[in-house]
């Protein structure tokens, strides 16, 4: 029988994992809201960000904070470039074709990284610190820093969407593209911005995930199931939904350790997707899904 402290520890771990998961999930759902297709290329952009942060951190000797900014910017730029050069051309052919193209793009990008960095696992250059103890609970200082970065990113994104003109234009396009274009909002420009922000968030999320463990060319692909689960559970297209969904999936993945071996953790995301689509397809906060 697991003790209450064990459950508490799992919930704490789940909240931290979920908060980090929320970062790429917000990116995914933002892109979905504006461009209306599930962009599986998010996986490779998370990996691109993780490697960009790795280069900044391990090769250039920067600390974590500037490295995550670089992860965001590089993944964002790659996101805009690949979308302009590749995915944009598929959009007139429909969302299924675009989704397939995004899978091909993800594998292509992954192999660019594999070609340049090889398959071996790489760790970030982090100071070794002792875990903090709060009562019976343990947290690592690095985890707390990751959590703070994730929360700050979230706050910044919500501020951007709620307060700036561009953020409002983005929401307008997501809400009603026709009306937005009548009001003179340039959908192309909004598409670029949402790609930059969305893929940037993916890259930042990829690095945050990597900070906890190691990175390799499959880092992003391995977490894509949880990211999609978070976005679907919260409701595809809803940014607050992505946060709630990510916390649900994060805590769920940890709590399942009470009954299952840790190896099945990522399968929890899939079960969550199936449950939500069966019972409430639009997710917790999403709009209609059909």
């Amino acid at each position: 029988m697991p003790s209450l402290a064990d459950v508490g520890q799992l919930v704490v771990n789940g909240i931290m994992a979920g908060t980090i998961l929320a970062v790429p999930a917000m990116g995914l759902t933002a892109i979905y809201a504006v461009l209306r297709f599930p962009n599986f290329a998010l996986a490779s952009h998370a990996t691109v960000g993780a490697f960009a942060g790795y280069v900044a951190n391990a090769w250039l000797g920067l600390t974590v904070l500037p490295s995550v900014v670089i992860a965001f910017v590089v993944a964002g730029i790659v996101g805009v470039a690949t979308d302009d050069a590749i995915l944009k051309r598929f959009r007139p052919a429909g969302y299924i074709t675009t989704a397939i193209a995004s899978i091909a793009l993800t594998i292509a990008l992954e192999n660019v990284l594999r070609f340049s960095f090889g398959n071996e696992l790489r760790g970030y250059n982090l100071p070794i610190q002792r875990d903090w103890r709060v009562g019976a609970l343990r947290v690592g200082p690095q985890q707390v820093e990751n959590l703070a970065i994730a929360v700050a990113t979230m706050t910044a994104l919500f501020g951007f969407l709620a307060l700036t003109r561009t953020g409002k234009a983005m929401r307008a396009v997501a809400d009603n593209p026709m009306l937005a274009s009548i009001k003179g909002i340039n959908a192309d420009a909004i598409g670029r911005i949402v790609n930059f922000v969305g893929m940037g968030l993916a890259g930042l999320g990829g690095m945050l995930i990597g900070l906890d463990t190691t990175i390799d060319p499959l880092t992003g692909f391995r977490s894509i199931l949880s990211v999609f689960a978070a976005a679907v559970v919260g409701g595809l297209g809803s940014i607050p939904g992505a946060v709630i969904g990510a916390l649900t999936v994060g805590i769920g993945e940890e709590l399942c350790l009470l009954f299952l071996s840790p190896d099945y953790r990522s399968a929890v995301g899939f079960v969550a997707i199936l449950l939500v689509l069966t019972l409430r397809p639009r997710g917790i906060l999403g709009q209609r899904a059909y």
Partner: protein, 310 residues
């Protein structure tokens, strides 16, 4: 060398079987399956486990593989059939990843990442390796021919016409009184059965399966095969499968001669080329090299309307 060519022909046959299955799902019914490798894996594991652990015959294992994958196809498609098509994309992709996770970790059943070895092949013990290869090629050829025949009948039957109608406009099909959900689930189940059968054939041919065989790249191979041959076109599915095996194998020979790159880099170049080629085909030849030919009924000229003379 001959053995190598036969082995390539067998894998082309297995790819062709998968392409035929995906063609029913994607080409006829317009549904996306981004996790087809998961269905392939289910077929492979079902048949391998039944023959290895439960003492079933190979034919029995293969039949069970087709049935089980069809049932899985029903469940996966039923959950998403009323939703927008992109949910099916997410669920199928997640399904394939989940199958890989389970196959890697359910060590008591699947032997984990070490994989299952010693899967029986038909008459493997009684024949010499060369004769076994040839015999297996004949088995694959017969099965591909049978599935081709069935899917070709499907395509030209009223059932196939309804599927194409659903693909082109779901609402019109529904207005015409067709039960769209039922047709979609059926199409998905039929296609999945072919994928499962292909997986079973693969397991019995190579005698060894492991989770890292069932990677998303395989999904891309089949999509590319289908796009190369022509979406919605059964003959194209087979031609495309042969073309893709030829392409993959020829790059296997060429890339080691490129100076200055390691084995990992060579593999990366190959995978990159496959992905890039898929993007190019999808963009510029979405109907494939052998486009689907539709029977067109001539529209009778209306009286009184001006008819341009030829």
């Amino acid at each position: 060398m001959i053995n190598y060519l036969i082995a390539m022909a067998v894998s082309a046959g297995i790819y062709a079987l998968m392409a035929l299955g995906v063609n029913v799902i994607w080409g006829f019914a317009g549904m996306v399956n981004l996790g087809l490798v998961g269905f392939f894996a289910v077929g492979a594991y079902v048949s391998a486990l039944l023959t290895l652990k439960a003492g079933w015959s190979i034919a029995g294992g293969m039949a069970a593989a087709a049935l089980v994958t069809a049932a899985v196809g029903v469940v996966v498609s039923l959950i998403t059939v009323r939703l927008r098509g992109d949910y099916l994309a997410i669920v199928t992709l997640g399904f394939a990843e989940t199958i890989r996770i389970v196959a890697s970790n359910a060590i008591w059943l699947t032997n984990g990442t070490d994989g299952l070895s010693g899967i029986p092949g038909p008459y493997r013990g009684a024949l010499s390796p060369e004769a076994f290869n040839l015999f297996f090629l004949a088995v694959v050829a017969v099965i591909v021919a049978a599935v081709y025949f069935v899917t070709e009948r499907l395509r030209t039957s009223p059932f196939g016409r309804v599927l194409r109608a659903i693909r082109d406009d779901e609402q019109v099909a529904a207005v015409a009184g067709k039960h769209v959900t039922l047709f979609k689930v059926k199409a998905f189940a039929i296609g999945s059965a072919a994928l499962g059968l292909a997986g079973a054939l693969y397991a019995h041919y190579t005698s060894y399966i492991a989770p890292d065989i069932f990677v998303p790249l395989l999904t891309l191979y089949i999509k590319l095969a289908l796009l190369t041959g022509g979406l919605g076109n059964n003959r194209g599915a087979i031609v495309g499968a042969i073309a893709i095996v030829f392409l993959l194998e020829s790059t296997r020979f060429v890339i080691p001669f490129v100076p200055g790159i390691s084995a990992v880099q060579g593999a990366a170049v190959r995978e990159f080329l496959v992905a890039a080629l898929l993007l190019v085909m999808l963009r510029y030849r979405p109907a494939g090299l052998l486009p689907e030919r539709l029977t067109r009924f001539p529209v009778p000229p209306k009286e009184g309307r001006y008819q341009p003379t030829a």
